[in-house]
């Protein structure tokens, strides 16, 4: 949408305060990975980047730099039609990086990458963010986003469902629950109830306790002489947080169960 590839029904999108159409060399302001398959198959990766560089008035030297940066190397002179999905992904990222932009929009950048590629792109995204760039990543891979993203916008059916930091969202989904492992769950429940906490049975020897901080749980159990082997704060995954968030959006989930 900021690239005005699809016209908005209402509102405007600006890049650094400027409409995309008014940018002198757009790719030096915002780089985008839209679709890694958007290639002319018979054109080499290097020539693909070369026309893109020419369109921004960038020198051919810049093409060689990004080719090295994404690790395409000598493969860049082969026709792009023969590339694996992972190589196309790297080429698409090279195109996004070509103008050394302050903002990047990457659509599903983890697609098709092998584990080494995954580690590479996570590191790349963190590095780009550390350099002061805004890195927008859209993805369905919650586990990858949990490790890389700082801020999260959840969009469902065209509406913003959440707009928050990743840490905040996980904390919110985690609640103040604590996992307790004990050989005497019944006694533990009594002791905790007296201390004002709510406890529910989990597994055989496990309780999930809420409404009481971990240190006061330990104190209450100790005072009541209930034996326990483990007290740990519950930490939700981003995926759980996402499910939690969209649980109420029955409409959304019924249409799109992913």
């Amino acid at each position: 949408m900021p690239l005005i590839l699809d016209a908005p029904d209402e509102g405007t999108a600006l890049i650094g305060g400027t409409p995309h159409t008014a940018l002198h060399a757009p790719l030096t302001h915002i780089g985008a990975l839209l679709d890694a398959g958007a290639l002319q198959p018979s054109r080499s990766a290097r020539n693909h980047l070369l026309w893109l560089a020419h369109s921004q008035g960038l020198p051919a030297r810049r093409v060689d730099e990004v080719v090295e940066q994404v690790g395409l190397g000598s493969a860049a002179r082969r026709r792009a039609g023969g590339y694996s999905l992972g190589m196309r992904q790297r080429l698409g990222i090279a195109a996004a990086l070509l103008g050394d932009p302050g903002a990047l929009m990457l659509d599903e950048p983890f697609n098709g990458l092998d584990p080494e590629g995954m580690a590479w792109i996570r590191a790349l995204l963190r590095t780009l963010a550390r350099q002061g760039r805004a890195v927008l990543v859209s993805s369905h891979l919650m586990a990858e986003l949990e490790d890389t993203a700082d801020h999260l916008v959840v969009v469902g059916r065209g509406r913003v469902i959440a707009d928050t930091g990743v840490a905040d969202m996980i904390a919110a989904a985690s609640g103040d629950r604590v996992h307790l492992r004990t050989a005497s769950p019944a006694e533990a429940m009594t002791a905790l109830a007296n201390a004002g906490a709510t406890a529910v049975f989990g597994d055989v020897d496990q309780l999930t306790v809420s409404n009481l901080p971990a240190e006061r749980i330990v104190a209450a159990l100790t005072r009541a002489a209930v034996p326990f082997s483990e007290v740990s704060a519950h930490r939700a995954s981003l995926e759980e947080a996402y499910m939690e968030l969209t649980r109420d959006k029955v409409d959304f989930r019924a249409v799109s169960p992913e």
Partner: protein
């Protein structure tokens, strides 16, 4: 609103604006091997057309039925090939003067309709042709192709003043007879020749005035007659030779040194040639102040598309242009539809958000490449084609300007047609649809209009006024002359519009398609 980016790009961008978009599009074009091959095919296919011409040969047949070696026609003062055969009763007179004569009759005869160019030796039928001519003439000499000016009556086109083969100006209308004679007058004053006509010998009208710079001081002044061969198209194609006789009286020569003695000369005829006597050998009689002159032939530009026309047109060498148009238009259409097919167009517009400029840059890139390819192809085709053609038949000469117009026009035709295909491709977005549109808009009307007999002549000419194929007029090497009856049909390389007007029709189509494509690009999502 969230404001992005505290990082500032550190790469340096060079020149701004349209030039770098063209550079980008040219890079796209030259980095797909299939497109480069197709661009190289443009000159190859355009040039190959010339190679098909080797078996074109001269088809003149003599009286004895044997083929006659084709002799290159004479050329007129303007450099064009001319048909120059007539009978002249003349006097050589120097300086300025005036010749006046009254024409009381123009009669004629012709051979019956024949389907072969073999001259018929008997069974003549009476009648004059529309361009049978008899009149008075001032000529530089008796050689074919000499500079001249003449006043004449014609079989069907009234009184005319004609000069130097291509010049023609209308005088009094109507046919001539004893009860309705025509007075003709021609005056020389230095290099200026002025023609007058009159229906009564008292009231004179000026028909025209021309300057013949190559006229020598001593010119041939005389009375002439000639009559061109004719063509019949229905029910079957045929034609034949004809002859005309003009009857003159009240002849007045106001000239220093003028006498009453006339010398008869057959211009461009060979009565004692190897083929025996010509049944249409010219002659003149002079008795009681009345002169009759009888002649056959024409004093006009040479047109191959007449019954006895000789020579071939150089434009036949550019027959391959329509074949070269195929890769030119297909590359141009695919140049844009390939981007839609792969989704690459989104990246293109992310890099250059002003879509109209992208379309313009694509047009410049593919148009320039096609123009250069077409220029090379047309130059090779014309040069080699003329050489190949002249082995079988004389190639009618044309001016350097015409040659340049044909070569540059062919290149421009290919380039603008390619841009039209690009615009159609932008509108269609799908390669198959785009190529179908190109075929429907450019090729189908062109073939329907230029293949002989596919459609009525009027429909064919109409198509070549309104469809992009009108631009093929740029390769027409000889104009159609209204004073020579010939088969001026698209099938024989004669276009209804001039080169400039025909090219303008293609440009109008292209401009409209570009405007529609630019509008569609702005309106729709990618």
């Amino acid at each position: 609103m969230t404001t992005l980016a505290s990082h500032q790009s550190e790469v340096r961008t060079g020149r701004d604006g349209f030039g770098r978009l063209v550079h980008a599009e040219w890079t796209k074009l030259r980095t797909v091997r299939g497109w480069v091959v197709a661009l190289l095919l443009i000159p190859v296919l355009t040039g190959l057309g010339a190679l098909l011409l080797t078996n074109v040969s001269c088809s003149l047949v003599g009286v004895d039925g044997q083929p006659v070696a084709c002799v290159a026609p004479a050329t007129g003062p303007g450099g064009e090939a001319v048909a120059d055969s007539f009978y002249l009763a003349r006097q050589a007179l120097a300086g300025d003067g005036t010749i006046t004569a009254r024409v009381t009759s123009l009669a004629g005869r012709h051979t019956p309709v024949s389907t072969s160019p073999t001259p018929v030796t008997g069974g003549f039928e009476p009648g004059v042709q529309p361009w049978s001519k008899a009149g008075i003439m001032i000529s530089a000499g008796t050689a074919q192709g000499s500079a001249y000016a003449a006043m004449m009556v014609t079989g069907g086109n009234g009184v005319r003043m004609q000069w130097n083969y291509t010049g023609d100006s209308a005088g009094l209308p109507g046919t001539v007879s004893a009860s309705s004679p025509r007075w003709l007058r021609l005056t020389r004053s230095g290099d200026t020749l002025t023609g007058y006509d009159s229906s009564d010998g008292t009231h004179w009208n000026t028909v025209g005035s021309v300057v013949l710079s190559s006229l020598p001081s001593s010119a041939q002044i005389g009375l002439f007659a000639t009559s061109p061969s004719y063509i019949v198209l229905a029910p079957t194609f045929g034609g034949g030779q004809s002859q005309a006789t003009g009857t003159f009286d009240r002849i007045a020569l106001t000239w220093p040194g003028a006498t009453g003695r006339w010398i008869g000369t057959g211009i461009g005829s060979d009565p004692a040639g190897p083929n025996g006597p010509d049944p249409f050998t010219g002659s003149f009689t002079h008795a009681n102040d009345t002169i009759t002159v009888t002649g056959s032939g024409d004093i006009a530009p040479e047109v191959p598309e007449t019954w006895d026309g000789v020579g071939v047109k150089a434009q036949d060498a550019l027959t391959g242009t329509v074949v070269g148009l195929i890769p030119a238009t297909i590359v141009a259409a695919l140049f844009v539809t390939a981007e839609y097919r792969r989704g690459l167009i989104r990246l293109t517009f992310a890099a250059a958000p002003r879509r109209g400029r992208v379309l313009a840059a694509k047009a410049v890139a593919v148009g320039s490449a096609t123009f250069v390819a077409g220029l090379v192809g047309a130059a090779i085709a014309l040069a080699s084609g003329i050489r190949l053609l002249s082995a079988g038949s004389p190639v009618l000469p044309m001016s350097t300007f015409t040659e340049v117009r044909m070569v540059v026009g062919t290149a421009a035709l290919l380039a603008v047609a390619a841009v039209l295909a690009l615009a159609l491709g932008t509108l269609a977005r799908r390669g198959v649809t785009a190529v179908t549109a190109v075929i429907a808009v450019i090729f189908v009307p062109l073939l329907l209009a230029t293949l002989p007999g596919l459609l009525p002549l009027g429909t064919q000419e109409w198509l070549l006024r309104v469809t992009p194929g009108a631009a093929f007029a740029v390769i027409q090497s000889l104009p159609a002359y209204h004073q020579v009856l010939g088969q001026y049909q698209p099938a024989f390389g004669y276009f209804p519009l001039s080169a400039a007007a025909g090219f303008a029709v293609l440009c109008a189509w292209t401009a409209a398609a570009l405007a529609a494509a630019g509008y569609a690009l702005r309106r729709r999502d990618v």
